[in-house]
Amino acid sequence: MTTLYLILILALGGAALAVAAFAWTVRSGQLDDLDTPPRRILNDELRVNRPVDDAATPP
């Protein structure tokens, strides 16, 4: 029975931490834009093809 009390408190504490973490992600704006990041992730391996030099500055 005592174990049950302990486990219950631990479990609820864990859940409370998860909720707090979620609240933090929402408040810090990480979930504001749900459209762009899933597209951006496709671009991680792309590289600009050519070394940059000053002459490449567009007009």
Binding site: A15, L31, N49
Partner: protein, 810 residues
């Protein structure tokens, strides 16, 4: 939102060096090419510029990741105004490290490819520190070092990549929205966490009910459930309570009233039972119900945002400040709110018009693409009207304001779309009405139950009645079906603005078709050729250099001939003369060709061509009329089949077009004798649609600016691909593919969706009747409630997902 994100990226194009897509089409977007630059084919100047810019910057990988290939638009503006002090004060923020930050609005941000193009700017333009874009809002947050690069250079770079730049005006609104969105997400998360943990405890309790459980353990689990349920459900359901109270105050029926009642009673009664250590608790069911409701409302609010966003971006393009010219000629910069009708304003080149007005001084050209979809600049002079939001391209002009703020055309459009997206569909009002009666019936039954059973048992049964009849499925029925339908429609290229549009498309009536674009291919081609085949080849060679649509028709689909062309002379509105392979050719309108040569040899052929309502072309070689061609805009393949399907769905199609009556009659005859009217003015279109509405639902299909009023006046308007922005905003539905199949698909989908909604309502009321009856009889157990309540919601969810609506692509 799933609707846009769900479209999978196109299969990777070949490696960068050979990335030019679709041989024969435009090297940038794959559309039919009309010109060639450096051996590559392009459909327009925009694509050519963007293609070169992407290559020069080494961004070839764009062609691998983009998932939409559309013609590009560039403006060729200098963007000097971005380096202006006035612009800096308004939009640019200085940062502690000496860099500056600015938020811009970029046109045409659509896919992963665009994100990559724009966000790779720091490695291409030295001095740019960081770029982040938000695809949904078209927003771009840029950090740059002002000592290394002026903002105008960065803007020109982005423009050359096909993303014309504007100052971002929606920041205030974004801020307010962000607060709402975050609050909603947080409530959803907390309710979800509460739901999950309550379920774990509930499994223990139900297990104990079957196998036996020590009384103190049972009490522990019940207390723990209460400690989780009261704060999480209470916090999550705050918006429900708020609308319910507001509805009660206003004495309106609203679906949130029975929901709030069920949740409140469940929480209070459950807590009382925990404290008294007697009776039942319903926390697990309530938590699930709250969580499901919040999720469905969040999804619905996201899809509403999407619909309104396009119109708001239009609004965002109109300037916030204007230059007012005083009576003494002095120019002062004033906020747009201070401008009144009749004020004289100066608009510099490159700036957007702040108001609707009439030009009083100066000559210039405007880019009115945001309103009309017409990308060619329009010349304007004294006396011409200009609209807010269109861009002054050429030289400074002075104008007198005729409409400001919300009274401008752009303002009216935005207001119109906002009204459309918040207006409740009749079916949703029906749900509210049902909910109103529902509350009344359930409360009456609860009182009767209490009295009939008497004492604590009566109260216990009445309370369980209130909890188990909480109409979650009723509240989910419409939004789920509509959201599933709108999402599926969007992935198949049909954008529908809200539930009420779907509903208005679902009752069959008359379909008014605009001939051009929907029934025909939209590009003229040679359908009749009378004369020697080698002349056909010569004609094609002679016409190749011309950009006229009829010339393009003559240049296409001809036998390949290699011949030299000389003395190419084109006469506008008449035809051209050229020397091909040593022969003098005259190609053009019979009237013009007939001036110089005798048309008698081809007179019969020409008469037959005119008789079929084709555009006749006469061809003379070395002063002798030898050939005749008939050019027309042919019917799309499948147009006749689509008309038959429309009829099978119960619709009555008819044609109402601004085109030549003879041409319209020919098309109508080819489609099996549709009712038709040609040569109709925009006003007559509007009058026709309004008159037809008296006889039942009218769905108008159109694409032009001239159709906008009729589209708005119809029961439901459908704008097709390539439509002008005004038409798109005025319509309830925008179909991305311009053929009739997509329209049939839309109408069939709308009918199927309404059927699903009705089925959902029946299912939810069925579950509630059974639950209510069991509760009154005192036969309900929390376990049964816990099974039945999610089951009813899941049936509604399943029924929505199983719906045939918009299942197949058109």
């Amino acid at each position: 939102m799933a609707t846009l994100a769900a479209s999978p990226p196109a299969p990777a194009a070949p490696p960068a060096a050979t990335a030019a897509p679709a041989t024969g089409g435009c090297a940038h977007c794959g559309a039919p090419a009309t010109s060639s630059v450096d051996g590559l084919a392009f459909c327009c100047t925009g694509c050519a510029v963007v293609y070169r810019a992407i290559r020069t910057a080494g961004l070839d990988a764009y062609y691998q990741v983009r998932d939409q290939a559309l013609p590009a638009r560039v403006t060729d503006r200098a963007y000097d105004e971005l380096d202006d002090d006035a612009f800096r004060r308004l939009h640019v923020r200085d940062r502690a490290d000496g860099a500056r930050a600015v938020t811009l609005y970029l046109e045409d941000l659509r896919c992963a490819g665009c994100v990559w193009l724009v966000e790779s700017t720091p490695s291409i333009v030295p001095g740019v520190v960081d770029v982040r874009v938000d695809v949904g809002r078209g927003r771009c947050d840029l950090v740059f070092r002002p000592d290394a690069v002026p903002l105008s250079t960065i803007a020109r770079h982005l423009d050359s990549l096909g993303h014309p730049v504007h100052p971002y005006r929606g920041a205030d609104r974004d801020g307010a929205r962000r607060k709402d969105d975050r609050a909603m997400l947080l409530r959803m998360g907390v309710a979800g966490a509460g739901f999950g943990n309550l379920m774990l405890l509930a499994i223990g309790l139900y297990g104990g009910w079957f196998t036996g459980m020590a009384a103190d353990e049972r009490a522990l689990f019940r207390w723990a459930s209460m400690l989780i349920a009261v704060p999480t459900i209470g916090f999550g359901a705050v918006p429900l309570f708020r609308t319910a109270i507001a509805a009660l105050r206003a004495r309106r029926a609203h679906v949130d009233v029975p929901l709030a009642l069920g949740i409140a009673v469940g929480l209070v009664w459950g807590s009382v039972n925990v404290v008294l250590d007697a009776g039942e608790i319903y926390f697990d069911s309530l938590a699930m119900l709250t969580f499901l409701l919040l999720v469905s409302r969040w999804i619905v609010s996201r899809s509403h945002r999407k619909a309104a966003a396009a119109a708001e971006l239009l609004w965002a393009l109109t300037p916030r400040r204007a230059r007012r010219v005083g009576a003494d000629g002095a120019v002062t910069e004033v906020p747009i709110e201070a401008v009144a009708v009749g004020d004289r304003l100066r608009v510099r080149a490159g700036e957007a018009m702040p108001v609707d007005g009439v030009v009083v001084d100066g000559r210039s050209s405007v880019d009115a693409a945001i309103l009309t979809g017409e990308s060619r600049p329009l010349a304007i002079g004294v006396g011409d009207a200009v609209c807010a939001g269109t861009t002054n391209l050429g030289a400074p002009i002075d104008l007198t304001a005729t409409a400001v703020g919300e009274a401008t055309r752009v303002g009216a459009l935005v207001r119109h779309v906002e009204e459309l997206s918040t207006r409740k569909a009749a079916i949703e009002r029906l749900v509210d009405k049902v909910a109103g009666r529902f509350v009344f019936v359930v409360l009456t039954l609860a009182v009767i139950t209490t009295l009939a059973w008497g004492g604590t048992t009566g109260v216990e049964h009445a309370m369980s009645l209130l909890v188990v009849t909480c109409p979650c499925a009723l509240a989910l029925a419409t939004p789920l079906a509509v959201t599933v339908a709108l999402g599926r429609a969007a992935t198949s290229g049909v954008l529908i603005k809200g539930a009420d549009a779907l509903e208005r498309l679902a009752t069959p009536g008359r379909v008014v078709l605009d001939k051009t674009g929907t029934l025909t291919k939209g590009e003229p081609s040679v359908v009749t050729w009378h004369g020697p085949a080698d002349v056909r080849g010569w004609v094609a060679v002679a016409e190749r250099g011309s950009a006229h649509p009829l010339a393009r028709a003559l240049a296409a689909k001809a036998p390949e001939v290699t011949a030299s062309v000389a003395d190419h002379v084109e006469l506008r509105g008449a035809g051209l003369t050229a020397t091909v392979a040593g022969h003098a050719l005259a190609i053009g309108a019979p009237r013009w060709v007939g001036h110089a040569v005798d048309l008698a040899p081809i007179a019969d052929a020409l008469a037959a061509i005119v008789g079929r309502a084709e555009t006749p072309i006469a061809i003379a070689v070395d002063g002798v009329a030898v050939a005749a061609a008939g050019i027309t805009d042919p019917l799309r393949p499948g147009a006749a089949a689509a008309i038959a399907r429309l009829r099978a769905l119960g619709w009555t199609p008819e044609i109402l077009s601004g085109d030549d009556p003879a041409v319209v009659a020919a098309v109508a005859a080819e489609l099996g004798g549709l009712p038709h009217r040609g040569g109709v003015s925009p006003e007559a279109k509007l009058a026709h649609v309004e008159a037809a509405r008296a006889g039942g639902p009218v769905v108008m299909i159109g694409d032009g600016v001239n159709d906008a009023a009729a589209l708005a006046a119809a029961t439901a308007g459908i704008a097709v691909a390539g439509a002008a922005e005004v038409a798109v905003e005025a319509a309830d539905v925008y179909v991305r593919t311009p053929d009739l199949d997509a329209i049939v698909h839309t109408l069939a989908g709308a009918q199927a969706t309404m059927a699903t909604i009705r089925r959902n309502l029946r299912v939810s009321l069925f579950y509630n009747s059974i639950g209510g009856a069991l509760a009154i009889a005192g036969l309900i157990h929390p376990l049964l409630a816990a099974v039945m309540m999610p089951l009813s919601s899941l049936s509604v969810l399943g029924s929505s997902l199983r719906s045939r609506a918009f299942r197949t692509t058109p």
